[in-house]
Symmetry: C2
Subunit: 261 residues, 2 copies
C-alpha cells in the first residue's frame, strides 16, 4: 500500500473514531509530514484524498480542518400536492410562502430569489421529453434561491415550457414578474392547465467546475441532478425542470403509498 494511502487511512481512522473532532484543526502540513516521516507533497497527496471524500476542508493561509456536517434541507415529494392546492388560493395567501419555504421552514424574508428568462429552441433531449419537434420554441427560465445573501444557493434550476403554450398569458413571459405568487402551478392555472402528475428522475455525480463555482461547493461534495417532468391532465408534458442540488445539504424524500390487499 502506498505511503500516502497509509497516511490517509491513519487520519481517516482518527476522524471516524472521533479522536479528531469535527471543526478541529490539523497540524500544519510541514509538521504532519515530519510526523509521518515523509515529504510535504506526499503528505498533501494523503490530505487530498480526504478532501475528495469530504472528510476535511483546507483553507488557504489558515489551516486544515475536520469537516462539520452541514444543515440539511429536506425536499419532500408532497411539495407537489401542496403547490397544486395552493395554486387556486387567493392572491394574499399565495403571496405568503413559496415552495422553498415549505421545504426549509424558513420565512419568505429569509430568502433571496433570482430569476432570468430567455427563449431557446428544443434540443433533441427536450424535444423527446415534451413530445414536440426539435427546434420548437421554448421558454427557458433559470432560478436560484439563496439564503439571504449569506451563502451559496440551495438549488440551480433550469425550467422549460413550450413558448407558444404559455404565450397565452404574456405576463408569464416576463422574468420581472418573479417570484410569481403561487409558483408555476398557479401560472399554468392562469392559462387553463391543470397538472396530473409529477415525475422526478434522480442521479448524482461530481460537480463540474462551473457547478462547484455556482453552488459554492467545496471539493469532495456531489451534485444531485433532478429532472422534474410535469404532465397535464390532458397527458401532455407541460414543464420540464433540471435541478442541481448540493449533495452535502440536500435530502430528497419520496413517499409511495400502497393499495390495500
Amino acid at each position: 500500500m502506498a505511503r500516502y494511502e497509509q497516511i490517509a487511512d491513519a487520519l481517516r481512522h482518527g476522524i471516524r473514531t472521533g479522536r479528531l473532532r469535527p471543526g478541529e484543526r490539523l497540524p500544519a502540513e510541514e509538521r504532519l509530514a515530519a510526523r509521518y516521516r515523509t515529504s510535504v507533497p506526499t503528505l498533501q497527496r494523503a490530505l487530498s484524498e480526504l478532501v475528495a471524500e469530504g472528510l476535511i476542508d483546507k483553507r488557504h493561509g489558515v489551516g486544515t480542518f475536520v469537516r462539520t456536517p452541514r444543515r440539511r434541507v429536506v425536499r419532500s415529494s408532497d411539495r407537489h400536492q401542496w403547490e397544486k392546492d395552493r395554486a387556486r388560493r387567493p392572491r394574499a395567501e399565495r403571496l405568503r410562502t413559496g415552495s422553498t419555504e415549505h421545504d426549509t421552514g424558513l420565512e419568505v424574508t429569509d430568502l433571496a430569489f433570482h430569476a432570468e428568462y430567455r427563449e431557446t429552441k428544443a434540443d433533441e433531449d427536450l424535444a423527446t421529453v415534451f413530445g414536440v419537434p426539435v427546434g420548437t420554441r421554448l421558454l427557458e427560465r433559470m432560478y436560484r434561491t439563496n439564503c439571504r445573501e449569506e451563502d451559496a444557493p440551495f438549488a440551480l434550476v433550469h425550467s422549460y415550457l413550450v413558448h407558444d403554450v404559455v404565450a397565452a398569458n404574456p405576463d408569464l413571459l416576463d422574468a420581472a414578474n418573479e417570484p410569481w405568487p403561487g409558483g408555476t402551478q398557479n401560472q399554468l392555472y392562469t392559462i387553463g392547465i391543470e397538472l396530473d402528475r409529477v415525475e422526478e428522475r434522480i442521479t448524482a455525480r461530481p460537480p463540474t467546475a462551473e457547478e462547484a463555482e455556482a453552488l459554492g461547493l467545496r471539493k469532495g461534495v456531489s451534485v444531485i441532478l433532478l429532472r422534474k417532468i410535469c404532465t397535464g391532465t390532458d397527458g401532455r408534458v407541460v414543464e420540464v425542470s433540471d435541478v442541481r442540488l448540493p449533495g452535502d445539504r440536500t435530502e430528497l424524500v419520496f413517499t409511495t403509498p400502497l393499495t390495500r390487499w
Copy 2:
C-alpha cells in the same frame, strides 16, 4: 490561474466539444507534459482534476481514456406496488423474477445474488426510525446484486428488521433461504404483515474508500444513498434499508400523482 488548471480546462474543452471522443486514448503523460511545456507531476495534477470530475479514466500500464457513459439502471418507485402485488402470488410465479430484474429488464439467470444475515442491536439512529428502545435486537441483512460475475454490484443493501417480530417464522432468520421468492414483502406476508407505504430518503456524496472498493467505483463517481422506510398497515415501521448505489449508472424515478381539482 494555475498552470494545471489551464491544462485541465484545455482538455475539458476538447472533451466537451467532441474533439476528444469517448473511448479515445490521450497521449502519454510524458508527451502531454512536453506539449504543454510543463513537468510530469504538474500534468498529472491536471489529469487528476478530470478524473475527479469523471471525465477521464486512467488505466495503469495502459493509458488515459476519455470516459464513455455507462448504461444506466433505472430504479422506479412503482417497484414497491409491483412487489406488493407479487407478494401474494403463487410460488411458481414469485420464483420467476425479482425486483432487480424488474428494474433492469434482465433475466434471473443473468444475475448473481449474495446475502448475509447477522444479529445486531439498534443504535440510536435505527432505534429512532423504528420507534424502539436503543439496543433492541435487530436482524441485519446484507445483500449485493451482481450482473453475473462480470462486474461490480448494482447495489449494496443493508436491511434491518426487528428480530422478535420476524422470529415468528424461523425461515426468515436464515440467509440460506435467499433469494426468497417474492422478496421481503412476501416474507412479511408469511408473518401477517402488510405494508401501507414506503418512504425513501435520498442523498449523495463521494464514496468512502470501502464503498469505492465494494461497488467497483472508479474515482470521480458519486454514491447515491437511499434509506427506505417501510411502514405496515398498523403504522409501525417494519423494515429499514440503507442502499448504496453507484451514481454513474443509477437513475431513480419517482412519480407523484396529484388529486384533481
